[in-house]
């Protein structure tokens, strides 16, 4: 009887853990958001435009000012999530695109930051910066960009 109870208890825990994992996965799917500085002009971007920007094939904002793209390292979970959920590309595809630009002299790679804290700091201090972050890390220095 006791053994049976223990079994139920384990099963309950497993189910709860599974449910949590599923919920967190769903939450993750919407968790990463594209950001710009808080004082940047209001702008609704399409997913296509965003992809062109992060592929470094568009380096200017509509007003003609410089755009500066920031990314996290290739194997950072937030970067992987951003690539898959927001851009709908694989991180290794983006790296290929950047390598082709850099090593043929036809473009620059995005600037790489080590952490989301550094991402936030750079957004606030670099004019025309664009990056991404987990939604829960948003603060008053940056503004989230919803896609149209």
């Amino acid at each position: 009887m006791r053994a049976h109870k223990l079994h139920d208890w384990h099963l309950g825990h497993c189910l709860a853990a599974l449910l949590c994992a599923m919920l967190s996965f769903v939450a993750c799917a919407q968790e990463v958001i594209t950001i710009v500085a808080a004082d940047a002009p209001q702008l609704a971007l399409s997913r296509n435009a965003l992809r062109t920007m992060f592929s470094m094939r568009l380096n200017k904002w509509p007003d003609g000012s410089n755009m500066t793209v920031y990314v996290l390292p290739d194997n950072d979970p937030t970067h992987v999530m951003f690539c898959k959920e927001v851009l709908d590309v694989f991180p290794h595809q983006l790296r290929q695109v950047w390598d082709r630009l850099v090593f043929s002299g036809t473009g620059q790679a995005p600037r790489e930051v080590a952490s989301e804290e550094e991402m936030l700091a750079r957004m606030a201090t670099t004019p025309g910066a664009i990056g991404y972050i987990r939604r829960k890390k948003l603060d008053e220095r940056v503004r989230g960009l919803e896609l149209r």
């Binding site: 296509n48 062109t52 200017k60 509509p62 090593f103 036809t106 790679a109 600037r111």
Partner: protein
């Protein structure tokens, strides 16, 4: 570079070793995949370093004396800087030291050095002009052919990107306009390059004229254009490249040849399909290589060549990638089996073609360091470098095997 061959070997070797040490040390010091950034990121410094080990059999040497010993004579080192000077102007330059068998001995050269003026840059269109020394935009891989991380193997498919005439397709000094048009998820990219090609390596001269040649080539004019249509997420891309390159022959001392010209015409179709974890790439070239005005010892001649490859790759996980490739090349598409070649020249019939079946694997140790291993089963010798096989005294055989290893760092 040509001056090094057959003259003073000691100096370039010392230089090569020095460059290798500096390059590796620099890359190791730089640590992870991150570029070095200055002036708040407006200036970026990137680099790469690759070393291969090649072993083959049956007297068939590829990039060094690989049939007699494990050849380590395939080393690529490079450092590049890109600077953003304003919303419209960018500068970029790259120096490369490349050792590749008997031809390239690691001398430092400027791979590209250009100013990029951007005239228009919006969500739907882009237009600009690059000037200086630019890479030739040919096919999917030519403009980054020395960077192992961007290649689909230890070496590129030799039918389309041969080591033998690489100078013809490497860089040129001139102008390079570019444009992008975007509509929905489709992008149309256009790049062209016009100017004077760098045409000074020994292997290219020997391939066109023959071993023992006393003079050298000098680039005359080159015009290359590439149109690429691609799906923005990279699911597929299609490209068409067209190139016309001309060079002048400059006589050497007591040269039996006259001042003449060589030319190369190429039409290349490229296609890629990415269905993760699978990806398929194919390219097909039709070309013509010829010479005129070299005199009676080298009568006017031309060959219509053809090459194609199909590669299927499978990403087995975030770090592993396997591929299979079939690559074929015919130096004269009217004489695919080499019958005419064997009956009219001292060369064997298998010098007219090369069919290469390759199995390869790539392992990413970290985002900045990768390893590759490759096995080639080759039938024919058409793309074997002439200089690597000139001194052995034993002719290359028709059927041969090659095993290659490569380690590559980039930051």
């Amino acid at each position: 570079m040509s001056g090094y061959v057959g003259s003073n070997f000691a100096e370039p070797r010392r230089m090569r070793r020095l460059c290798a040490r500096i390059g590796w040390a620099f890359c190791l010091a730089a640590g992870p995949a991150q570029a070095l950034e200055f002036f708040d990121g407006d200036v970026q410094l990137h680099g790469f370093a690759s070393q291969a080990a090649i072993r083959s059999n049956h007297n068939n040497n590829f990039l060094g004396p690989s049939s007699r010993e494990t050849s380590l004579r395939f080393t690529e080192l490079g450092l590049n800087v890109a600077a953003r000077l304003g919303p419209r102007l960018n500068l970029a330059a790259q120096v490369v030291s490349r050792s590749a068998g008997a031809d390239a001995h690691g001398a430092l050269r400027v791979d590209f050095a250009l100013a990029d003026l951007n005239l228009q840059d919006t969500e739907t269109s882009r237009l600009g002009l690059r000037a200086g020394r630019v890479k030739i935009p040919y096919g999917f891989y030519n403009s980054t052919r020395d960077i192992a991380f961007t290649r689909p193997g230890v070496v590129l498919p030799q039918s389309i990107y041969p080591e033998r005439v690489r100078a013809f397709s490497d860089t040129l000094d001139g102008l390079a306009p570019y444009a992008r048009l975007s509509a929905g998820e489709a992008e149309l990219l256009f790049e062209a390059a016009l100017g004077k090609p760098r045409l000074d390596d020994r292997e290219t001269t020997v391939t066109f004229i023959g071993n023992g040649v006393r003079g050298r080539f000098e680039g005359d004019t080159a015009a290359i254009g590439r149109v690429m249509l691609q799906e923005q997420r990279g699911t597929w891309r299609l490209a068409y490249s067209q190139a016309q390159l001309r060079g002048d022959y400059r006589q050497g001392e007591r040269d039996p040849l006259l001042k003449g010209r060589v030319k190369l015409h190429l039409s290349l179709l490229s296609a890629e399909l990415n269905l993760e974890p699978w990806s398929f790439t194919a390219e097909h070239v039709f070309g013509y290589a010829g010479n005129t005005g070299l005199g009676i010892f080298r009568p006017d001649d031309g060959l219509p060549f053809e090459g194609a490859y199909l590669q299927g790759a499978w990403r087995a996980g975030p770090r592993w990638q396997w591929f299979l490739r079939y690559d074929s090349y015919y130096q004269d598409r009217n004489d695919r089996d080499g019958t005419w070649l064997a009956s009219h020249t001292p060369l064997p019939s298998h010098a007219a073609y090369a069919r290469d079946r390759t199995l390869g694997v790539r392992f990413d140790v970290s985002p900045s360091f990768m390893l590759r291993a490759e096995y080639h089963r080759v039938n024919g010798t058409a793309w074997l470098p002439v200089l690597d096989n000139a001194d052995s005294g034993r002719p290359p055989q028709r059927d041969w095997d090659m095993f290659m290893l490569l380690g590559s760092l980039r930051f």
